[in-house]
Subunit: 245 residues, 2 copies
DNA sequence: CGCCGGTTTGACATACTTCAAGAGAAGTGG
DNA sequence: CCACTTCTCTTGAAGTATGTCAAACCGGCG
């Protein structure tokens, strides 16, 4: 169940201070943000925003992982984004979003009321610029994902997905060196992200285990036994440094 | 072959004046833009920008249609965007792009040198805001496309593609009422856009012809004989007004 | 006229889905 | 602490939508 804690930690001690929308803000601007921000927490599985809901606030992910999901009339679903700490939720200039946002782990958000935030964007270019930059990064990532969805084989999809997890989880620094990686998603959710069924995901994951590319300690925890082989399996070229990172 | 015409038509008479990046600019800002802009033309089939090329300019599409293409090492390709008049090419803040931009019809661009344009963005919020808005729209469209690539059947993909063409071509006003729609792409290019093979595209298109949904006057020209049926065939819900428009 | 790119059409192959059953974990309550 | 349920995951067998390969067609253009 959702609970709202009216907590406002100091921005200066924020773990995502240098990566989020506020990355470029100076002290004065941070002070303005601190005035309109409020933390909110969600338990794993909770909906954060529902499609069509009036969008009263925008937010940065501070802790945890959230997903963006689209559902067709007949129930088919496609995940269209995965949000890690420092990622931004919401779109200034529009009153609603047309996908669901769900917390897949426990999540903490740093929320800003949309209206005052929009005013800030109009007046402080540092925020607007950073938001533009983040949006363009997301667009790049979305385009890489389109290649995955449209052209990659099941095996390449899985490999790419795992590879992205490695990059993102290590960038965020949520794990020590050599510590096992965590699958924040169920097989079903992974399937939804990469456009497959959960059975195919399960089979491919086990195949990569048998081949010695992945080593599972648990259904949700694993290590990369052979990063080179994993990278080759993605089908991406040499140093193409995909945008989802 | 590419030819560069050093022509600078007045912004005030520009057909995309109210939809492009410059939509919100006042007269003074337009004057600044006019100072750094230059038209360029490309013939159908010409490359506009190549992956990895240094990005010396950014641009708005004035006439014609261009596509964004990604290619994997082994030659598989996926189209990741289609640019119509008023759409923007290029990304401020980055020196290169990681896809190819190709003119699929004759194309006219309104180009701005990247560096001066970036300076303008930093100083004139009207441009930055409009660019942010356009990027977010593109992101929405990309997400709708991810649903198409990941979850739709061949038939739904074709229907969705045609439906998008109807919307975009009529918005741009490049055709009168009842005039036949134009397929700017070959079967192969369509296939690349929706993640299929050209054979499947051909079969589905002909199936919709036989069913009386589409009426071809030519291999590249056709009319929508039954818009309702077309819409139903997309698999999208009632009034979900997809973002690609 | 004869080539040539784009397109259609057919026959066949297959990667992935679908359907179905069962095995592990993980929690719940007695 | 042990049934019992529930959820996730695995594994198998069978079906199918779409891809692959190949040949023929068609309209345009030199």
């Amino acid at each position: 169940m959702r609970f709202t804690a009216k907590i406002r930690p100091k921005c200066s001690e924020c773990p995502i201070r240098h990566r989020a929308v506020c990355a470029r803000c100076d002290d004065g601007e941070l002070a303005m943000l601190e005035g309109i921000k409020a933390y909110r927490s969600f338990a794993a599985g909770d909906p954060i925003l529902r499609r069509g809901d009036p969008l009263t606030y925008v937010a940065s992910v501070v802790h945890g992982v959230a997903t963006l999901n689209k559902t067709m009339e007949d129930g088919r679903t496609q995940m269209v984004g995965m949000l890690f700490p420092s990622d931004f939720i919401g779109r200034p200039g529009r009153g609603e979003i047309d996908f669901d946002v769900v917390a897949v782990t426990d999540v903490t958000l740093c929320c800003f009321q949309r209206k005052p935030f929009e005013r800030l964007i109009a007046t402080t270019p540092h925020i607007a610029q950073r938001l533009l930059e983040m949006s363009l990064d997301e667009l790049d990532a979305a385009r890489d994902w389109m290649v995955l969805l449209g052209r990659k084989t099941a095996r390449e999809k899985i490999a790419t997905f795992v590879h992205m997890l490695v990059r993102r989880q290590s960038v965020v620094g949520s794990l020590g060196d050599g510590a096992p990686l965590i699958l924040p998603l169920t097989r079903d959710e992974i399937a939804s992200y990469i456009g497959l069924t959960l059975e195919t995901v399960s089979r491919q994951l086990n195949a990569m285990k048998k081949e010695g590319i992945l080593r599972f300690t648990d259904r949700r925890r694993f290590e990369i036994a052979d990063l080179t082989a994993l990278h080759i399996a993605t089908g991406d070229d040499e140093e193409g440094a995909p945008a989802y990172c």
